[in-house]
Symmetry: C2
Subunit: 679 residues, 2 copies
């Protein structure tokens, strides 16, 4: 119990530091003029989205709770109804805590953006700190709530499947937050660009554009709340899988020990981040990540020696940590604006947009290789290193690699949430007319955010990959604990193969549904913008005092996002249940493996090629191959628009889809064993 | 032995019918004027490519022969050197026969194009028959040589692995023919379009364009020789896999029986194809396919009853046949110009090229689902239907499904080779100034070819998928026959998982390398075209008597195609060997499964979205959403250009890559068992 209580203690520390950051950011001054008003609009818009999302989620979660009460962990006519109630409560706790973390994140992000813009008038340092500490509130809140939630639940119930239900609750929210937020943000972004930059030729954040506030809201709901929920979800899922595999071996304390030390390392890392006068904000972010990694490795090694944990299990954890860094690094290599791929895509753009697309897509395909290989090697190495400890330890090794990879997630989320805050700050500086000097600083901060984002995105995908492998192992363990049978999931078993093939197709269909949703939603919003330009006199000309109806655009993006997301989410869940009820647990084993592999492939392809197109456009804008307004630039803009839903809607949502599906499968194991056509 | 001799007899019949068609086509008149000359240029260009390709292949095959003599089936210091010699001879036979079939195909296709163009002056009927019978020569030659080659080899050696080496020989050639031809054809196509249509605004087949002959050559080498080699390869591989699985059960006669009856059905089907005056050529092609399918089902059922074959094995074959039809049908659904996807992509093009790409790509992702599900169901159903016959029969069932799917391949290749012939006829009619009435007819024939192509492409991918599953089963059987151990390829065995992940990444990297090769090669060719326009006086203005240097463009496309293809092919083969020597046979099991799944996903995605973009452009050109010259049309052209390397280079080459890799793995089984790091 010592380590669970230690986890609670570290979580408390995280909350205290988060609260300190919150007050620190809030105490910064807000510029006079209309900056505060615009900030309030963004804030109100973000809350509008969250409220709508949570209202729909409430209905969805209500339906799931009824299903849990009826069927999980066992149908009520077979099992103990008290188990069903406990599981339902754990599920509710998962959604509520994850929702709370998202709410806190949005709450601080929509303050920090104004503060960061204001502080930019005095220079880079405070402006950077406002962005970073705003993001860190989210980072620490997410990891603190997930770790303390898991500790309390496990201490109360000592039942590993309960933690799974908690994780599924978080996953349900993540599906709404990440996929819904992803559709929202790209709907607004694309509509604003199409009507503003392309049709009218006005700048990105021009306040005449009815979609401009929605665009800034989108950064917050997509990248702050969405990414936070996604990593909350992966973090809990990795803990849940590890607990299931550790419980029969009496090693649960290790999970909480390493998880707590990871959070502690993140707290220290976050507190240490500073940027010197004249320093480089991107380096400051990356140094924070490296520092956290080193501290985590040192702390866990010390604990292992001090408390006589198995050194092999520490090694498995360390392998995960290392491979996370490699994956992040290789994602950066392919999308960095100083690398060959970006320069080549920019060069190819001179021959027209088709070449921008073909070249970027090709590099995206190639970029999947190092990451996939990294995950494969991490899985084999962590398995092999733990194998000599005895039966069951090998798979625990894989799940510890996932824990290791996610250990520094507090720092990762902080870096990630920094991005949209300073992006917003840039927009506010433009809309609030803070002048060119301020814009220069916010541009610099924004660019650092983009670089950090490439790394954190690769990291999030890698972590989800390893976590889901651990969940597959956990699934096998659940079946073993219930029937004593060890499933081998042999590829040449046709039922496993059937699952494998179906699993491969699901992320493809899921991501397509989301991207088509963005397209349809953007059509609706563009129509609304055209209506406003026609019907509001003086808006197009920019007559002083005439304002667009920002809220209508926010409403369209919100309602459309939820509407487009639900069929995609349901498809994934229903196909999982169909495969399980047709092919039984063997088919599910294949299904999860297929889902992971194709999910990783598509997520990496889409995130990396999207990032690559974005940076290739910026590379051209920086004056290469003709610069702004050249044919190459036009082609680059088209590539960037294709990349938008790739990298911000479909790509990162696949993580969530894969995790949700794995949790649904694990929770339904008993049902699949009892009722299946071929199984 | 009866059925092997029957196979020889039917093959002979196929050769006779092919010879009859050859003479029939050759006896048709050639229009006076320069048509014959242009036809000769195309013919000479195609032979130039073939000669260069075969010369490089000779060196590649020479190296492989040395490796076979040294290491296969067993290292010379361990095994019987006579086996190595036999295997090397079988390998050589595979390359030579496949090369011969390709040569015959090119030889007739480059006659039939001129004849078809000429005949179009008299109307649709003879023009259609020239195209179709020209294609049928290729179809019958391919199946005849592959079937008779396999029969003779098996009769002489009674050794199933020898057939595998024969298949690997065919595969080596297919890799060069399909991937090399795919790079050639798209290099020429894109370069001709960029310099002709886009820069100069001259029509597609304008003889001033130095790339125009290369473009017509490309249709022949990519779609006739390439697709023929690809299906030759799949056909032999399915026979080889089935023989390996059938041999221990004493069921080899069945493979030759069903294979021969498939060829017989194709012969009857091909002879029956006619188009009535005023009839629809597309329907004539499809009716031929349906007729062949029905005849094959009837013949095999009759043989099963008459010779008392196991009815369950017939059923497994029938399931494969059926699922091939379903896959072809669903590919057509997604790419047909009367379907919703094409209309939606055309509609989305009104908002700009980014929406053309996003929407088409999304439909491409969704289109993978029915085909993948069809293959999965075919695999399970054929396994389950054969399972009650006893151990070993279940996997034989899967391999029979592959045989069933490929049974009508003679007809499929005929339909497929028809496309480039009538496409060429259209170009010849334009270049030879045969007038608008003729162009109208050739356009109609060309459009039928495009529809047939959608079906045959889906079919080819599906057949390769099932074949490679059969090869995976054959791999397991090879290991069992050598060690007695039945490998289970359990997904949770980390070595299998490592293979699975690596296998997933290979088709992604392979297809990216080919597409980037097209881009680089097109850059070289565009530079050459610009040079000619600058340095040859009067060429750009079209002064009579001034001619471009067509041969330089053909040389560039040829040399570039070979140069770009070799690294991609080597990468796939070397990664396979690396996985095998690191992880042993278990890793290879996972590797092949990963390769099949991601290969199917990417091949279907690329082929279908490419076909969709092509037809969406044509849909706009037919007058929808503003028609030719509108913004939607410009966007449609960009989509089509992106789709070109997707559907004609990368997508279909993935089949060949997957087959080559599977054969390398199967042939190297003994080596992996003897030498591997983790195995």
């Amino acid at each position: 119990m010592f380590w669970q209580i230690f986890a609670l203690f570290v979580s408390l520390l995280a909350f205290l530091v988060a609260a300190y950051f919150y007050r620190w950011v809030k105490a910064l001054p807000t510029a006079e003029g209309n900056l505060g008003t615009i900030g309030d609009w963004i804030r109100a818009g973000a809350y509008t989205f969250l409220k709508t999302e949570y209202r729909v989620l409430l209905r969805f979660a209500g339906a799931v709770v009824v299903l849990i009460l009826l069927f999980y962990p066992a149908p009520i006519w077979q099992g103990n109804f008290l188990d069903n109630i406990t599981m339902a409560l754990a599920y509710i706790a998962g959604t509520v805590l994850s929702g709370l973390a998202g709410w806190i994140g949005i709450s601080i992000a929509t303050i920090a953006n104004v503060k960061s813009a204001t502080a930019a008038r005095q220079g880079l340092q405070t402006s950077f700190m406002a962005g970073f500490r705003g993001g860190a509130v989210m980072g620490l809140a997410v990891v603190g709530t997930s770790l303390s939630g898991a500790s309390i639940l496990y201490m109360l119930t000592r039942h590993s499947e309960i933690v799974l239900a908690f994780s599924f609750g978080a996953s349900s929210l993540a599906l709404f937050a990440k996929a819904g937020g992803g559709i929202f943000t790209k709907t607004a972004d694309i509509s604003a660009d199409l009507t503003g930059k392309v049709e009218l030729g006005i700048p990105e954040d021009d306040p005449r554009n009815p979609a401009v506030i929605a665009d800034n809201v989108g950064d917050n709901v997509g990248d702050v709340a969405g990414m936070g929920a996604d990593l909350f979800d992966s973090n809990i899922a990795s803990i849940a899988a590890a607990i299931i595999l550790a419980a029969p071996l009496g090693q649960v304390h290790l999970i909480f020990a390493f998880g707590s030390l990871g959070l502690l390392a993140s707290i220290i890392g976050v507190l240490a981040v500073r940027v010197k006068p004249g320093g480089h904000p991107g380096k400051a972010l990356n140094n924070g990540t490296y520092l956290t990694t080193v501290i985590f490795a040192a702390l866990t090694l010390a604990a292992t020696l001090l408390f006589q944990f198995e050194i092999r299990l520490w090694l498995a954890t360390f392998i995960g940590l290392l491979s996370g860094t490699v994956i992040g690094f290789s994602s950066e290599l392919f999308t960095s604006d100083t690398g060959k791929p970006v320069a080549r895509v920019a060069e190819a753009s001179q021959s027209g947009p088709a070449f921008t697309i073909i070249t970027g897509f090709s590099y995206g395909l190639i970029s999947t290789f190092p990451s996939i290989l990294g995950i494969a090697i991490a899985a084999v190495a962590s398995y092999k290193v733990a194998e000599p400890l005895g039966a069951g330890y090998a798979l625990l090794g894989i799940s510890l690699a996932a824990i290791g990879m996610l250990s520094i997630v507090g720092m990762i989320i902080s870096n990630d949430a920094y991005g949209p805050i300073v992006d917003n700050a840039r927009g506010l500086a433009e809309m609030g007319n803070l002048g060119d000097d301020v814009l220069e600083i916010t541009d610099q901060l924004d660019s650092a955010g983009n670089t950090a984002k490439a790394i954190t995105k690769g990291f999030a995908i890698g972590a989800a990959g390893l976590t889901v492998i651990a969940l597959l192992a956990a699934f096998q363990e659940i079946v073993r604990s219930k029937t004593g049978e060890i499933l081998s999931f042999s590829i040449l078993d046709p039922v496993v193969f059937f699952g494998l093939m179906t699993g491969v197709a699901v992320p493809a269909v899921f991501s397509a549904m989301l991207m088509m949703g963005v397209g349809r939603n953007a059509e609706r919003m563009v129509a609304e913008i055209h209506r406003q330009f026609t019907e509001i006199p003086g808006l197009r000309a920019g007559r002083p005092g005439v304002m667009p109806d920002y809220n209508r655009c926010i409403d369209i993006a919100t309602i459309g996002a939820i509407k487009e997301l639900i069929p995609a989410g349901l498809m994934a869940i229903l196909v999982t249940l169909a495969v399980g009820f047709i092919g039984g647990v063997s088919a599910i084993g294949g299904f999860l493996a297929g889902n992971i592999t194709s999910g990783l492939l598509l997520a990496l392809l889409m995130s990396n090629s999207g990032g690559l197109w974005d940076n290739a456009k910026k590379y051209i804008e920086a004056g290469h191959f003709g610069g702004k307004g050249s044919e190459a630039h036009k082609a680059g803009v088209i590539g960037d628009t294709v990349g938008d839903p790739f990298k911000d809607t479909a790509g990162p949502s696949i993580n969530t889809q894969v995790t949700v599906v794995s949790l649904v499968a694990s929770l339904s194991a008993s049902l699949f064993m009892a009722f299946s056509l071929l199984g």
